[in-house]
């Protein structure tokens, strides 16, 4: 079906259902309850981030998961895509499609140039080269190309690139009739438009922007499945496995790695374009090396080289980042209120550095735990859990082996 094997098709359908029903799945607690405040994640901006970062990591995984080349500068493409899209909204109009297309094209060109140079080396040297390029891009965006008083102000430096009432927007309007900034839209459907469904105490939000990003993520995911199963994908895995044998088998590894690099750069550019489409503001911090590091972390967290891993890794990272940064001392006191005062204060003091602004710390610990106990990431965790629940690890392993004997179906 759709050119996918049965197994891949099932996976694809599961992801479609998850994306479609996310507003329900992510809002399990009734509106207004304290649990909802903390654990519900069915808000438009958060759901948008889930799928947009999903796209980013899916693309990253095509490079890192298949070829083993660890790029430490992928945030550069995310940032380039973000700026490109905002420029489209400034110059052309507020329809998101030109912005998204341009973000992919520009990121692709950047990836071609950076990849061409960086791929002359492999291993750690490749990673360092990509990191250096990304930091250069960051600095260019932050200062050199972003001086607000110069005539050539591409990025608007520290403040970030934003929409102005004086922008030309030749295909649209510079300002709305009531004198404010127009909003991003998809052929008239505003990205921030939402439909709210109230069921008893529960409130579910269906946001136009989220569904646009969701559909684009599904297309991206589908393409990545096709790449994984294609001869091209196999060649990328061969690059990771043994470049020497590849060369002596008449295959030129360079264009393979470069193509993978550009494809993953285009994915990152697309993600950047979507971020700007949801919120037309692009800042240099999106290109910072910590952002590149986060992409690597999300990929490893989910499970490198697996199909679903990138989506899980991105979701896990964004979800916990969101929860942890919301927890503050008063929330902690509320939770631990049942304890004697002395113990309560003591525990709050201990937990304090790990939450709120300290969310990095907890996420770092979670990352370490996953790497040490689940080297295959969340995907491996899911497999083990599934095995424990059904208690049929052996049988399913056998079935899997059987299935691999008839891979053509």
């Amino acid at each position: 079906m759709l050119g996918l094997t049965k197994k891949d098709f099932t996976l694809f359908v599961v992801v479609i259902v998850m994306v479609a029903l996310a507003p329900f799945l992510l809002n399990p607690f009734p509106q207004g309850s304290s649990l909802a405040q903390m654990f519900n994640a069915g808000y438009p901006d958060l759901m948008q981030r889930f799928v947009i970062f999903g796209i980013l990591v899916i693309g990253f995984n095509i490079l890192f998961g298949l070829t083993g080349y660890l790029s430490f500068g992928h945030a550069a493409f995310l940032g380039v895509g973000s700026y490109s899209a905002v420029w489209m909204f400034k110059l052309l109009g507020m329809n998101v499609i030109p912005g998204i297309l341009l973000s992919m094209v520009v990121a692709g060109i950047f990836a071609l140039a950076i990849g061409y140079v960086s791929l002359r080396r492999s291993g750690i040297y490749f990673s360092i080269l990509t990191l250096a390029f990304a930091q250069m891009s960051y600095n260019l965006a932050y200062s050199v190309l972003g001086n607000p008083s110069s005539n050539f102000n591409l990025t608007n430096g520290e403040t970030g690139l934003q929409l102005l009432l004086t922008d030309p927007r030749i295909l649209g309007q510079s300002t709305t009739p009531d004198g404010s900034l127009p909003v991003t839209n998809f052929f008239g459907i505003a990205m921030r438009d939402s439909y709210e469904l109230r069921l008893g105490d529960w409130l579910f939000t269906f946001n136009a922007g989220y569904y646009l990003c969701g559909i684009i993520m599904l297309i991206s995911f589908y393409i990545s499945i096709r790449i994984f199963r294609s001869p091209f994908g196999m060649m990328l895995r061969a690059v990771k496995s043994n470049q020497q044998r590849m060369n002596y088998t008449g295959l030129n590894t360079k264009p393979y790695t470069l193509a993978a690099f550009v494809i993953s750069g285009v994915y990152a550019g697309l993600a950047g374009g979507l971020l700007s489409s949801m919120d037309p503001l692009a800042g240099a911090e999106r290109m910072h090396w910590t952002a590149s590091g986060e992409i690597v972390i999300m990929a490893i967290l989910g499970g490198v080289g697996t199909l679903i891993g990138p989506i899980l890794g991105a979701g896990f990272n964004e979800y916990f980042k969101n929860i942890l940064s919301k927890i503050n001392d008063s929330v902690l006191h509320q939770w631990l209120g049942f304890l004697p005062d002395g113990i309560e204060d003591f525990l709050v003091t201990i937990i304090h550095p790990f939450v709120g602004k300290g969310w990095h710390l907890t996420l770092g610990l979670l990352f370490m735990i996953v790497i040490i106990f689940l080297p295959g990431g969340l995907v491996e965790g899911g497999k083990r859990l599934g095995g424990m629940i059904t208690g049929r690890t052996r049988r399913s392993a056998k079935a899997e082996a059987k299935q691999r004997n008839h891979p053509a179906e």
């Binding site: 050119g3 094997t5 393409i223 096709r226 790449i227 199963r229 294609s230 001869p231 091209f232 994908g233 196999m234 060649m235 895995r237 061969a238 990771k240 496995s241 043994n242 020497q244 044998r245 590849m246 060369n247 002596y248 088998t249 008449g250 295959l251 030129n252 264009p255 393979y256 193509a259 082996a401 691999r404 004997n405 891979p407 053509a408």
Partner: protein
């Protein structure tokens, strides 16, 4: 003129003359062995043929065309395949995938951006790969992880991968090194079968005299980077210079 013509090839590593004025002519459809003591320059010579090393002087012609200055993948596409001293296969891939890769390289060339089709639906390639695995007696192992194969099977797979490209010249660097007797004999049988059934020229570097004398039609003895003699196996066996330089050594060992 032979299919491979090596003329006046010299290669220095710093002060060491690894190859000194090597002249070699390999006749098409023959099995030609290169023997010599450790450090004689055998692997260096092979590396000069496949683009891994660039000789300092001299020329290497394959089928009348120079191979010097070309990249390994280009030389392979000309029709030269190489088997390594330790088997070089794609350890992370299944046996079938290992075999499919050279089939793709043979049909589609050095690069193909075929990213949207399912590789297992490419009947032509899959059939070719499976056929080759059957020929190598490995069809039952086709879904195994190739890293988990035995050393002998890895070697068979590697040879099969090279053959699936239908090379005109097959270069083998000590294909039985580190193998048990049984595996060595299997490899000899396999190479004999290849020699007899295929339209191919084989150059083999080998330390094991049993392997050399059961396969080769001509033998070149290399010592200190220079060919000492070249002749038929029978003549080589009796050659005083060779006994002194090489065979005596192995018999004593």
């Amino acid at each position: 003129m032979g299919i491979l013509e090596v003329k006046n090839v010299n290669k220095r590593f710093g002060g060491l003359q690894a190859l000194g004025d090597v002249n070699l002519s390999i006749a098409e459809h023959s099995v030609h062995a290169i023997i010599g003591p450790n450090g004689a320059g055998k692997s260096t010579l092979l590396n000069c043929l496949v683009g891994k090393l660039m000789p300092d002087t001299g020329s290497v012609l394959f089928d009348g065309q120079s191979v010097l200055g070309r990249k390994p993948y280009q030389i392979n596409q000309m029709g030269i395949s190489r088997v390594f001293q330790t088997p070089e296969i794609f350890g992370d891939l299944s046996v079938l995938e290992n075999m499919m890769i050279p089939c793709f390289a043979k049909r589609d060339g050095s690069f193909g951006l075929n990213a949207m089709t399912n590789m297992l639906k490419d009947r032509e390639i899959v059939e070719r790969a499976e056929h080759m695995l059957e020929e190598m007696n490995m069809a039952d192992k086709r879904h195994m992880h190739s890293a988990s194969l035995s050393r002998g099977d890895k070697r068979r797979l590697e040879i099969g991968m090279c053959l699936s490209q239908e090379p005109r010249l097959l270069l083998l660097d000590e294909p039985t090194a580190g193998m048990a007797r049984a595996d060595t004999n299997n490899t000899i049988d396999l190479l004999k079968q290849i020699r007899d059934q295929r339209d191919i020229t084989i150059v083999i570097i080998e330390h094991d005299m049993h392997v050399v004398f059961s396969l080769a039609e001509r033998i070149t003895v290399l010592a200190q980077g220079t060919p000492l003699v070249e002749d038929t196996p029978d003549k080589i066996k009796g050659h005083p210079k060779v006994r002194e330089a090489y065979l005596g050594e192995t018999q004593a060992a």
